[in-house]
Amino acid sequence: MKWLPTLLRALAFWLLAAFLVTPRSFAPLFSGLAQGTAPAIYDRASLLMLAAQHLALVFVATVAAGVLAIALAILVTRRFGTELLPFARSVVNIGQTFPPVAVLALAVPATGFGVVPTFLALFLYAMLPIFENTLTGLTNLPRDVQEAARGVGMTGWQRLFSVELPLCLPLILAGVRVAAVISLSTATIGSTVAAPTLGEVIIAGLQSNNLAFVLQGALVVAVMAILIHDALFALERHLAVRGTS
C-alpha cells in the first residue's frame, strides 16, 4: 500500500498538466455543469498562462519573504539584536491574527488594484512562518554542537553558515512549505483585487453562475496546492534524514 499515495500524486500531476495544456479536451466532463450555451471551459484567458502567473507570484513572494525573514531571524539571535528578540516574537504573534483578506483589501487604497497589493499581502504572510521557524531553529540549537564549533576556533560567521543554519535547514524548509501553501491560497483571493491568478476562474464562475468554471478553477488550485505541499514535504524529509545520518 506504500505505493498508493505516490501513484495518486503522479496521476493527479499528469491530469493537471493535461488539463492545463489542452483544457478543451476535458469539455465533456464539465459541460453538464454549464447552463444553456455557457462555455464549459474558461475561455477569457489561457488556463496555462493563469497557472504560470499564479505560481510565479507565489514563488517570487515566498523567496523574497524567505530571504528577509531568515536575515531578520539571524539578526535578532546575534548579540546585537538580543534586545529585539521578545519584541520580534510578539510582533509575529500579533501579525498572525490579521486575516489575509483584510491585508489584501487594505493594501488596495495605497497601491491600486492588481498584482502589487497581492504581492504585498503574500510577502507579509510568507514572512511570518519562515521567521518563526528560523527563530525556533536558531534558539534551540544543541548546546554541545555550539560549544564544539566554538572549540575548534570558528568565528561567529563561520559558525552561523557552516553549523547553525545547516542544522536549522529542515525547520526553515518547513516554514517555507507553510508559507508557500498560505501564499497559494492568498494569491487565489488576489483575483478579487484583479491580480491575474487562477482565482479569476472561480470568481468568473460565481459571477456568471457557471458551476463548470467554479469547479475547474477550484480543482486546479486545490491539486496544485496539494502537489506543491507534498513535494516540499518530501524534500524536507529527505534533508532531515541526510542531516541525521
Partner: protein, 399 residues
C-alpha cells in the same frame, strides 16, 4: 523571561533602546512626510492629502506635533516597560481623538457629502506606537489576564468614543450609518459561522483525536487526510463544496428545508468545519500523548477504569494543548469567514468585497477592522482560557 533578565544586565554605554529606535523612526517619517488625513468633496472623487498641520486647528496641531515628538523621543531612551506601556497607550488614545477631531475640522459646516478618512501618516503613527505598546507588554512578560484587562479597557474607550460620536464625521462612520442594521446582521452571521464551525470541530474532533490516540494504526491515515484538506486554498474549498451541496439540496428530501443550498452559509460552514478539524484532532492527539507514563500508571494503580482515567486524568492534562489548537482554528476561521462572503455566506466580508467593487476604501475598512478586532480578541480570550486550564506550577510545559 530569561531574555529580559539577560538584556537588563548588559547595559551598553549609549542608553538607546533598539525597539524604541524603530518606533521613533517610524513616527518621525509619519509626522514629517506623510499626510494625516484625506479629504474628498464626495464619496467618489479622488482625495486630497491633508498634513496634520491643516487637519486640525493650528493651535491643536502644534500641541499634537509636540506631544508626538516628545513621546517618540521618550521611547528612544531606555526605561522601565511600565511607563512605556502607559505613554504608548496614552498616545494611541490621543491619536484616535485627534483623527476624530480632524473629521469635524475638515468637514465644512452643513456639508453632508464631504468625506474625511485617516491617511497613511495616521496609520503609520498608530502602527509605530502599537509597536511600543507591544514591546512594553512583552518586556513586562504580561500574563494573559493583564492582556484581557487591557483589551477590556480598549473596548470601554472604543464604546465611549462611539457613544459621544467622536468619529461621526469620518467617512468610516458615515458608511456605517448608511448600513447600521446590516452591519450587525453580518456581524452576527460572521460570529455564528466562525464559532459554530469551531464548536462542531471540537465536538467531533476531540473524540476523533481520542480514538486515534487509542488506535495508533489509524493515526497516520487520519492526520494525512486532514493535512491534505488543510492544504486546499480557502477559495477553492468554498468553491468545491458548492456543486455537492447543491446536489444534496436538490436530491435529498428535506435538505433544502434545513437551509442547505449550494451557495450561502451551508458550504461556508462545511468548509470552515473541515479546516478546523486538523488542529483540533492533532492537538488532542499531542495532548494525550504528552501525559507522562508514570501518571497514567499511577491512575491505573488506583483501580480507575479506562473511561475514568480518560475523563479525570488524561483529558484535563491534555486540555491546554487542545485549547491551543482551538485558539489556532478560531483565529483562522474568523479571518476565513471573510472569504465566505464571495459564495454568499455573509459576514463582514460582504462589506470588504462591496467596498472593493465600489472602490470605497472606507467600506472595505468597515468590513476589515471588525474582523481584525474579532480575531485579535479571540486570541486574547483563548490565551486566558489556556492559562486557566494549565496546571499552576511551571505552567505551559505541555506545549
Amino acid at each position: 523571561m530569561a531574555t529580559t533578565a539577560a538584556s537588563a544586565t548588559k547595559q551598553p554605554a549609549l542608553h538607546i533602546d533598539k525597539p524604541g529606535l524603530l518606533v521613533a523612526g517610524l513616527a518621525l517619517v509619519a509626522l514629517v512626510f506623510l499626510p494625516f488625513a484625506t479629504f474628498r468633496a464626495n464619496r467618489i472623487v479622488p482625495g486630497d492629502a491633508v498634513a496634520l498641520w491643516n487637519a486640525v486647528p493650528h493651535s491643536l496641531a502644534i500641541v499634537a506635533t509636540l506631544v508626538i515628538a516628545v513621546v517618540a523621543a521618550l521611547s528612544l531612551v531606555r526605561s522601565h516597560p511600565l511607563p512605556r506601556l502607559a505613554i504608548g497607550a496614552g498616545i494611541l488614545a490621543f491619536l484616535f481623538v485627534l483623527i476624530g477631531l480632524s473629521g469635524t475640522h475638515l468637514t465644512p459646516e452643513g456639508d453632508r457629502l464631504a468625506r474625511v478618512s485617516p491617511a497613511s501618516g495616521f496609520w503609520l503613527l498608530v502602527f509605530a506606537f502599537g509597536l511600543l505598546v507591544t514591546d512594553a507588554l512583552s518586556r513586562l512578560a504580561a500574563g494573559p489576564l493583564i492582556r484581557l484587562l487591557l483589551l477590556a479597557g480598549f473596548y470601554l474607550l472604543l464604546g465611549g468614543g462611539l457613544t459621544i460620536g467622536l468619529w461621526d464625521d469620518l467617512s468610516l462612520m458615515k458608511e456605517y450609518a448608511n448600513r447600521a442594521a446590516s452591519f450587525w446582521n453580518e456581524g452576527r452571521s460572521h460570529l455564528l459561522l466562525a464559532v459554530g464551525s469551531v464548536a462542531a470541530a471540537i465536538l467531533t474532533g476531540v473524540p476523533i483525536g481520542i480514538f486515534c490516540h487509542r488506535a495508533p494504526s489509524l493515526r497516520g491515515a487520519v492526520l494525512n487526510v486532514l493535512n491534505t484538506i488543510q492544504t486546499i486554498p480557502s477559495m477553492a474549498m468554498f468553491a468545491l463544496l458548492i456543486a455537492p451541496l447543491g446536489w444534496v439540496a436538490a436530491n435529498v428530501p428535506g435538505a433544502s428545508a434545513l437551509g442547505i443550498r449550494g451557495i450561502g452559509a451551508a458550504p461556508a460552514f462545511l468548509a470552515l468545519y473541515l479546516y478546523s478539524l486538523l488542529p483540533v484532532v492533532a492537538n488532542t492527539i499531542a495532548g494525550l500523548a504528552g501525559v507522562a507514563p508514570d501518571v497514567r500508571e499511577a491512575a491505573r494503580g488506583t483501580g480507575m477504569t479506562s473511561l475514568q482515567r480518560l475523563m479525570k486524568i488524561e483529558f484535563p492534562l491534555a486540555l491546554p494543548t487542545i485549547l491551543t489548537g482551538v485558539r489556532i482554528v478560531l483565529v483562522q476561521n474568523i479571518g476565513l469567514v471573510t472569504i465566505a462572503a464571495l459564495i454568499g455566506g455573509g459576514g463582514f466580508g460582504v462589506f470588504v468585497f462591496q467596498g472593493l467593487g465600489q472602490m470605497a476604501a472606507d467600506l472595505v475598512l468597515l468590513g476589515a477592522l471588525p474582523t481584525v478586532l474579532l480575531a485579535f480578541s479571540a486570541a486574547v480570550i483563548l490565551d486566558v482560557l489556556i492559562e486557566l486550564a494549565s496546571p499552576p506550577p511551571s505552567g505551559g510545559s505541555a506545549r
